[in-house]
């Protein structure tokens, strides 16, 4: 007998999200955002390492990308959470991690670490391609003006590379929102585990998984709107348009990122 789809369960999950669900949703979002931010930072560092004058750094950066992109993310998550503790002989990831006023469960921290490391390898490729896309004459001009390599990179090359980096970065974050669901397997109570818990107690897989799919879809749709808006602003600044109200707000409130995003390149 085919079980009938019980619409009221599905609607209830969407229209009346409970408190536990809201926390799970929030956890999914902040894990994705943090892992993406750290992933971009790791990607930048490893991209610069791979473009370094020093062979050792190039090799290290290359190994990182090779190993991380060549292994499944779920294996990396398990390795960090379960494996690393045994491997290192001490608790890399304690049960709870206190960060001043907030304390996070060890699983959440391990999850963020694993996803950041994974993301960094993919961002490394994207950032390197972005830097490569900037005309070599830009760095030569910077150097000819007496700028050391690092300053030229930061002030001249990276702001122009940002234009190329932002669209694929948006796709990466879309992926990240969904990949957080794998953290359910190390016990992080996020969207997917919330659905799984309800499924286990009711044996209504279709309703609960359809509902959680809807919520993931909501997250990615909202993100795609934000992404389009950011890319629109980038395109506008490429044309040398006047700063819009929001760009000026960003300039005023975000001292460093303001340059990287708002005025990035033509």
């Amino acid at each position: 007998m085919i079980a009938a789809f019980e619409w009221h369960i599905f609607w209830d999950r969407i229209v009346h999200p409970d408190h536990v669900f809201a926390q799970a949703l929030w956890r999914t979002v902040y894990i994705a955002v943090l892992a993406q931010v750290f992933g971009v930072a790791l990607g930048l560092v490893s991209a610069l390492m791979r473009m370094s004058r020093f062979r050792v750094l190039r090799i290290l950066g290359g190994m990182y990308v090779l190993v991380v992109r060549g292994t499944p993310v779920i294996v990396q998550i398990f390795f960090i959470y379960f494996g690393a503790n045994l491997f290192l002989g001490f608790d890399l990831v304690p049960r709870t991690v206190g960060l001043g006023p907030v304390s996070l469960s060890g699983a959440v921290v391990a999850g963020i670490v694993a996803l950041s490391i994974n993301e960094g390898a993919y961002m490394s490729e994207i950032i390197r391609a972005g830097i490569d896309s900037v005309d070599k004459g830009q760095m030569e001009a910077a150097r000819s003006l007496g700028m050391p390599h690092g300053l030229g990179m930061r002030r001249i090359v990276l702001p122009q590379a940002a234009r190329v980096i932002v669209p694929p970065l948006g796709n990466e974050f879309n992926n990240m929102l969904k990949t957080t669901s794998l953290l359910a397997f190390i016990g992080v109570y996020e969207l997917f585990l919330d659905a799984d818990v309800h499924y286990s107690s009711t044996f209504k897989p279709s309703e609960y998984f359809a509902a959680v799919a809807f919520w993931y879809l909501m997250l990615t749709v909202i993100w795609s709107v934000i992404q389009a808006w950011i890319e629109g602003r980038l395109a506008a600044s490429e044309r040398g348009d006047q700063l819009s109200f929001w760009e000026r707000v960003r300039e005023a409130w975000a001292p460093v990122p303001g340059r990287l995003w708002g005025r990035a390149a033509r």
Binding site: E140, S144, L145, G146, H149, G240, A264
Partner: protein
């Protein structure tokens, strides 16, 4: 920043009354197995404008890129203002200098590129103040005032807040000249500054360069503009196959060149 007259590191160590701004001795440069410079020697006196001409592939662009160490050299030595460029002497050998020192030396050497290389994400003014503010630590208000004066000098005061993408080639190149001048360099290098320009905008760039030469800036100009060489150069240097094959005053050069290769080249280009 090397303002005081340091001891000349030249071979003989002689410090003459008019120490040359540029002293290149037997510069050798190879790209893999191809030797692009086979021992180029040239002195440029303060205030002198030297035009470097020659067929493509003769090494003239490579040569001036060696002078601010955008290219490493494989032999010989280059001094600017008495300071060895790109290398330091260690036990009688030349070792590549630290990045910071090379960057400091480049502050004294302005460079203008064939394809302008303006920073497209900055306005004309921002392009000009970037290096003075970030590298020389000039006060921003002061840098802006200087930049405005420079823009005025190259005839682009009204383009202060324009992005390079909205400027013509000639205007971009004039901003690029102003950007290089903002560092108050002792020497200006021009690498085919008009080769990428539409014919109608070449004149405005050459005008700015002539003015600069008249004001006594020391300049090395790689160019195919023989009119400019004739009018503005104190000396013309002809390169071929990685060597300087002839040098002299413009009058000598364009009326009675000695070298057969020079004669051929000029007959084709003039």
């Amino acid at each position: 920043m090397g303002a005081g007259a340091g001891p000349a590191l030249g071979k003989g160590g002689e410090v003459s009354a008019a120490q040359p701004i540029v002293r290149a001795e037997e510069v050798v440069k190879r790209f893999g197995r191809l030797e692009v410079l086979s021992g180029v020697s040239l002195d440029v006196a303060p205030g002198e404008t030297v035009c470097v001409i020659g067929p493509s592939g003769s090494g003239k662009t490579t040569f001036i890129r060696c002078i601010n160490h955008l290219e490493k050299i494989d032999g010989g030595r280059i001094e600017v203002n008495g300071h060895l460029i790109g290398y330091r002497e260690q036990n009688g050998k030349l070792v590549e200098d630290s990045e910071g020192n090379i960057a400091r030396q480049r502050c004294e050497i302005g460079m203008v590129f064939q394809r302008f290389n303006l920073f497209p994400h900055m306005t004309a003014l921002e392009n000009i103040i970037e290096a003075p503010v970030r590298v020389r630590n000039v006060d921003k208000a002061r840098a802006v005032a200087d930049a405005e004066a420079l823009l005025d000098r190259v005839g682009l005061a009204d383009k202060r807040d324009t992005y390079p993408g909205k400027l013509s080639g000639g205007q971009q190149q004039r901003v690029a000249i102003a950007r290089a001048l903002a560092m108050k360099p002792a020497l200006m290098l021009f690498d085919e500054p008009t080769s990428a320009l539409d014919p109608e905008t070449i004149g405005e760039v050459l005008e700015v360069m002539k003015e600069l030469a008249r004001e006594g800036m020391t300049m090395m100009v790689v160019t195919h503009e023989m009119g400019f060489a004739r009018e503005a150069a104190d000396r013309v240097v002809m390169m071929d196959a990685g060597r300087i094959i002839e040098e002299g005053t413009p009058e000598h050069f364009f009326t009675s060149p000695d070298n057969e290769r020079t004669q051929q080249f000029l007959s084709k280009i003039l």
